[in-house]
């Protein structure tokens, strides 16, 4: 039973990280219908920026709360800046191109960013310091759920609530929903579509950076390649829940996280990634619109 609970919580933790990344995929897909392959790389860049900032601040002897706040700020700001720039450089010129073009451009961007970090930094795994010491009151539960798991779950929940509020109740959120429904109509009622798309990329990238920061301090090491697998898995989660749907992405992420956790715990850990990919293939074959997605009917 204890093993089960442990696997359950580790699945939830995984799921929350996937959710943070999957939201970026699903929001971008909802608005411009593009699979943003470079999204996983934004997550990786967020993690790297966090590592660099926190190490520098630690060396200069900043107090712990300042280190945490500044690290979170720096990694979200830079990741958002990267997301914004990637959109402007690689996707915006291709708004009206055939469907395949932005996709190939996105793959190119992903390879470019990976190798950019590889060349600018290093190809080795870098140790990532645990930013937050283990809480005292968590000690009795240490066998089941660690402090960092707890933090990941709480942070994800807070971020989700904020995002839901943003999309449901603010002017920007309304503009985003309108653009997702019909870009031309949104333009006609005076929404600056380019700006809305930029904002979507910025929000998605910032969320991915938070995910990167959390998982890096949870696992304790990063390298330039972490974005690729995480990106595909988060995408799987987004598709599982129904791409374009925000609650769907969260649901899909938790299902994927739990599946992976139980499959590796009870079956075999060698095939961890195979489970995720097989799940992806199966969903796309049997229910391409996902669990909560609407089946899109193509009109001629």
């Amino acid at each position: 039973m204890d093993y089960f609970t442990e696997l359950f919580f580790s699945g939830l933790t995984r799921g929350s990280i996937y959710a943070l990344i999957a939201l970026g995929y699903t929001m971008v897909y909802g608005i411009i219908g593009l699979i943003n392959f470079a999204h996983g790389e934004i997550y990786m860049i967020g993690a790297f920026t966090a590592l660099i900032t926190s190490t520098i601040l630690n060396i200069y002897g900043f107090p712990l709360p300042a280190v945490i706040i500044l690290t979170v700020l720096a990694s979200t700001i830079w990741a958002a800046a990267y997301g914004f720039t990637v959109e402007k450089l690689a996707y915006q010129p291709l708004r009206n191109a055939p469907r395949l073009s932005p996709l190939i451009s996105a793959i190119g961007m992903s390879i470019f960013l990976q190798n950019y970090v590889l060349l600018a930094q290093t190809s080795d795994f870098l140790p990532f310091p645990a930013l937050i010491p283990d809480f005292k009151f968590m000690e009795p539960y240490a066998g089941v759920i660690g402090t960092s798991d707890m933090l990941i779950l709480v942070t994800t929940a807070v971020v989700m609530l904020l995002l839901t509020w943003l999309i449901k109740f603010t002017r920007t959120g309304k503009a985003m929903r309108a653009t997702a429904q019909d870009q031309k109509m949104a333009m006609l009622v005076g929404i600056n579509v380019d700006r809305v798309i930029s904002i979507t990329f910025i929000i998605g990238s910032a969320l991915a950076a938070i995910g990167g920061l959390l998982i890096a301090s949870h696992i304790g090491q990063i390298n330039f390649y972490i974005g690729f697998i995480a990106g595909i898995k988060a995408f799987t989660a987004a598709v599982l829940g129904g791409i374009g749907s925000v609650p769907g992405a969260v649901l899909g992420s938790f299902i994927l996280g739990l599946t992976e956790s139980f499959a590796t715990g009870y079956v075999s850990s060698d095939y961890e990634d195979v489970f995720a990919f097989s799940l992806l293939v199966l969903i796309l074959i049997f229910r391409p619109s996902g669990l909560l997605g609407k089946a899109s009917i193509e009109k001629v």
């Binding site: 190490t55 690689a90 793959i107 190119g108 470019f112 095939y271």
Partner: protein
């Protein structure tokens, strides 16, 4: 040509890039020793580089705009493209073809074994590019797991030789057919999917194949791979290393010619025209009575067939296979060849494969930047020249008036 506002904007752009690349380019940390390395020179490079890139882009844009304006006003006539002239004038392309043919035939005699070996690799990528070109360029199905079929070919030679002692020539068609059947196996479930989902599923499929090869030790010997695969035999005569490389080279040349011939014939065939129609508009294509299922499956199977055959040759060339040779990056390189060459264009794909494989070999100093450049090439080509370096010439029909 460059106005003051352009320069101002350029400065802003370069400032933005300096900010953007600051943490990753300038700072390098060593988290264990707690040492920070400030690399300020990188900052100046980024600033200067992005400024110049911006100006170059601005100039390119204005020139393109004024040209279009002039054509519209009738001031200058639209020049027929240089490349079309080259490709359609027999006085030019026949001698070029002859020289190129002679060069490739004499290559092993003129250059060392080392060079020949590199050339074999380049020719393998030519065939891979042409194979993927069927799927991506002609039929418009973005396949990101192409390397899986390549792996199927290579492992079928390795395993069939290991367990049944089959030779190169027996396995060559078997490897191709096995890969083709894997292509159909993958093709069936993904038929209903739209372009972008298809890309992801093929990517997942490619990774699944690699992970299985890596983890199923009893079947594929795991990450350590299979070694001692024999090179192709020459009518039972034993060849030395140097001779067998030369032999493999000519074999590859034959393979390239065969591929070009088949692909060229395919494109003008009934099924080829069905692929083009499928690429342009799936619904219209169905409305014209084309069987979508059959058309897509043949594209997948034929594309995979070439990858399987090249896989067998790869195993024979390196005499060793392991899963590390079949990562996603390999698929990305092949995709890059197709995109750079021009989707659907045979000559373009050949030139692009030679450029992309040979240049990094000879510019060793830049070989670290290989993948960086490949990524950038994909983006830049899509933004500025989606038709590739040698655009595919569209088949046009003219109606002659009888008067």
């Amino acid at each position: 040509m460059i106005s003051l506002t352009d320069i101002k904007k350029g400065l802003l752009v370069s400032l933005w890039f300096v900010f953007l690349t600051f943490p990753l380019m300038v700072i390098k940390i060593n988290p264990i020793d707690k040492v920070i390395l400030w690399r300020w020179s990188n900052m100046y490079w980024v600033a200067g580089g992005s400024f110049l890139c911006y100006l170059a882009m601005q100039i390119y844009k204005t020139r393109k705009l004024t040209r279009q304006e002039h054509i519209k006003q009738g001031l200058i006539k639209e020049k027929p493209k240089m490349q079309f002239k080259l490709l359609s004038d027999p006085k030019i392309y026949l001698p070029t073809l002859a020289v190129a043919g002679l060069f490739f035939l004499a290559f092993p005699l003129l250059f060392s074994t080392y060079q020949t070996n590199i050339m074999i690799t380049a020719l393998m990528y030519v065939v891979l590019g042409l194979g993927l070109n069927i799927v991506v360029g002609v039929a418009g199905l973005l396949d990101l797991g192409y390397v899986a079929f390549y792996a199927v070919g290579a492992y079928s030679y390795a395993l069939l030789h290991l367990h049944f002692g089959l030779g190169f020539w027996e396995v060559l068609p078997i490897g191709g057919l096995l890969a083709a059947s894997f292509g159909i196996l993958l093709g069936f479930p993904v038929l209903r999917l739209r372009g972008d989902y298809l890309a992801i599923v093929t990517l997942g499929f490619g990774e699944i194949i690699r992970l299985i090869l890596e983890n199923w030790n009893e079947f594929s010997h795991g990450p350590s791979g299979i070694s001692n695969i024999p090179r192709p035999g020459f009518f039972g005569i034993h060849l030395g290393l140097e001779q067998s490389i030369t032999y493999l080279y000519y074999l590859m040349i034959l393979m390239v010619i065969f591929t070009i011939f088949v692909v060229n014939r395919l494109q003008s065939s009934r099924i080829g025209r069905a692929w083009f129609a499928l690429r342009e508009d799936e619904i219209a294509c169905q409305a014209m009575g084309i069987d979508k299922t059959k058309t897509k499956l043949t594209a997948f199977a034929l594309g995979a067939f070439w990858a399987g055959m090249v896989g067998v040759i790869f195993a024979a060339k390196t005499t060793f296979v392991n899963p590390a040779s079949f990562t996603f990056l390999e698929s990305a390189i092949i995709l890059c060849i197709v995109v750079l060459g021009g989707m659907g264009s045979i000559i373009g794909v050949i030139i692009a494969a030679l450029i992309l494989i040979l240049l990094p070999e000879y510019l060793r100093a830049f070989s670290d930047y290989r993948m960086l450049v490949f990524g950038a090439v994909l983006v830049i080509m899509m933004v500025f020249r989606p038709q590739g370096i040698v655009a595919n010439i569209r088949r046009t029909y003219t109606v002659q008036k009888n008067d």
